[in-house]
Symmetry: C2
Amino acid sequence: MTTINDVARAAGVSPATVSRVFNGGRVTAERAERVRKTAAELGFSPNRVARSLRMQRASVIGLIIPDIENPFFTSLARGVEDAAQQTNLSVVLCNTDEDVDKERRYLEIAAAEQMAGVIVAAASRNRTDLSVLEGRGMPVVAVDRRPRGASVDAVMVDNQHGGEEATAHLLRSGYRRIACIAGPEGASTSDDRLAGYRAVMRDHLRETDGGALPPEYVRHADFRVEGGRSAMRDLLALPAPPDAVFVANNLMTVGALQALREAGTEPPRTGVLSFGDVPWASLVRPPLSTVQLPSYDLGWTAAGLLQERIAGTERPLQTVVLRTALQVRESTSGPGAQGGAARD
Amino acid sequence: MTTINDVARAAGVSPATVSRVFNGGRVTAERAERVRKTAAELGFSPNRVARSLRMQRASVIGLIIPDIENPFFTSLARGVEDAAQQTNLSVVLCNTDEDVDKERRYLEIAAAEQMAGVIVAAASRNRTDLSVLEGRGMPVVAVDRRPRGASVDAVMVDNQHGGEEATAHLLRSGYRRIACIAGPEGASTSDDRLAGYRAVMRDHLRETDGGALPPEYVRHADFRVEGGRSAMRDLLALPAPPDAVFVANNLMTVGALQALREAGTEPPRTGVLSFGDVPWASLVRPPLSTVQLPSYDLGWTAAGLLQERIAGTERPLQTVVLRTALQVRESTSGPGAQGGAARD
DNA sequence: GTGAAAGCGCTAACAC
DNA sequence: GTGTTAGCGCTTTCAC
């Protein structure tokens, strides 16, 4: 393997000069050119391991995510990668599989490998422990969820706003008996979405003297397909079944659609609005209205914050909140629509 | 950060001894115990960067895959990870997004980081160039696809056998006019699957004096949903439409199912057999018969071969071929079945 | 079995 | 601007 010394000798300069050429130090143009040329001839590329040891920091950032198969996180990962490439950082992906132990191992590796920084979408808000990294002063940015007690920058989604927007849209489309299939009680992402739903429904009912929100219109499930399915079944079995449903995540939406089909009805007669894009959305008929999550931007923004920290910028901890975007398609065209275009 | 020297001083031994304790060298039990204890007290963990520099090799292997969103590759990744953990290697995942340039960058990083080895599912059989790694003598294992001209160990799938098994099963179930929706001409995975189909069909037709295989029963598409859909439409429009179809990949199967539904028919009346698991298979009714790909084992086996190479085992290059497994479900119960259990 | 010492390839402080 | 030099934390001879 060619080293910096080989290049220096061949080019008739000192190793330091070669290093400067490759790191933007001050070198006269003529010498720099000569160095670059010999380096190319010798096929030299700097040894990143030696550099990391010397600099006490690698030019790699870790991205720790709980579920590599979830399109939300892969899109987020792409945002991180694209942003990182701008400053020649490479990204290594670690999949924790929602497992806190596995996550801890990866956090330790990140520390031991002296990665430049870590972006983490925590496996658990309560049990994820970032102290391994914080102890070493390693830059960390939390994304999507911020573990309790962690003093780190964060990039989050405005879930409550998303819930409000979704519910308001359903009302505008003419639905009145709007139910909500929420996630597990205590999951903050779901709680916030539900809060948005409640706020808008309450306002609407007050304005129209519609009474109180029937408590049975809110059902908690487990964020998975089966949970959505049985929640929807329960809703359809009510004396006054809802004419629309706001589902707090993508997988539960899939289940809700199954239940609707089993019951012989379909959107948009019963409106369905999904929080987050549904995987293989193309397979779903009619096309689904969704609250789009800014997954790519989440990653991009997190990487930006991280790079500021890596560069040593001193500033107070900061939390960036990104908004969702309502994507109106046919599944919420209104209770009387014939599956045509939306009219929102 | 605590270093090996800190531990040595605190334990009253030399750094060399501490190193030996952590690397399985010969140390008296009593001293080893003392070292381990002080190390724990001081919160010491070996600096992997320094170790890599000294050993000229990192304890990380790279896994380079073309599509992180494809369940096939995530499952493969899990196989690699599980195998790697047995020898304390960590895995970093690199997603090339089917982009040969991006792939090249990752290969260079793997070289510069002096990773212990690389497992690569090539983005392209023709244009993927592993010479960066081969030049440095870095252990490499190709998986799923072997780039032409590369002298590396490989772990592949027996696609032809899978095609044979699938076709034979359809015949046994009572289907006679069996079509095949293949992938793009020239894609070796698809070609092999198609070859299996052809071989079995030819034998069957010869035995039963059934004449030649109608050429219009073989359609090439692009491995994507839309391609499968229009291929299936074409098949259904034939004067003698097939009564079963063998689809050469999962996404095209999704399209084929859509086309069948549009045409007012469904499996198992028209048999459908998919090569590879269909994403969100739970959404598909009736349950699909599939040729299961050994994705996890592919990863596990590749990691095993790689570790042998890393350990320095000298042996000729080797290609391991893993078999597929037929998973019979209801979509191939036979042309007369009522959607009941399979009878294969 | 143990310790002293060299050195992996690089960068940064310092002297010129 | 440039070269000399020290040293990042570790493993591994080589003596003992």
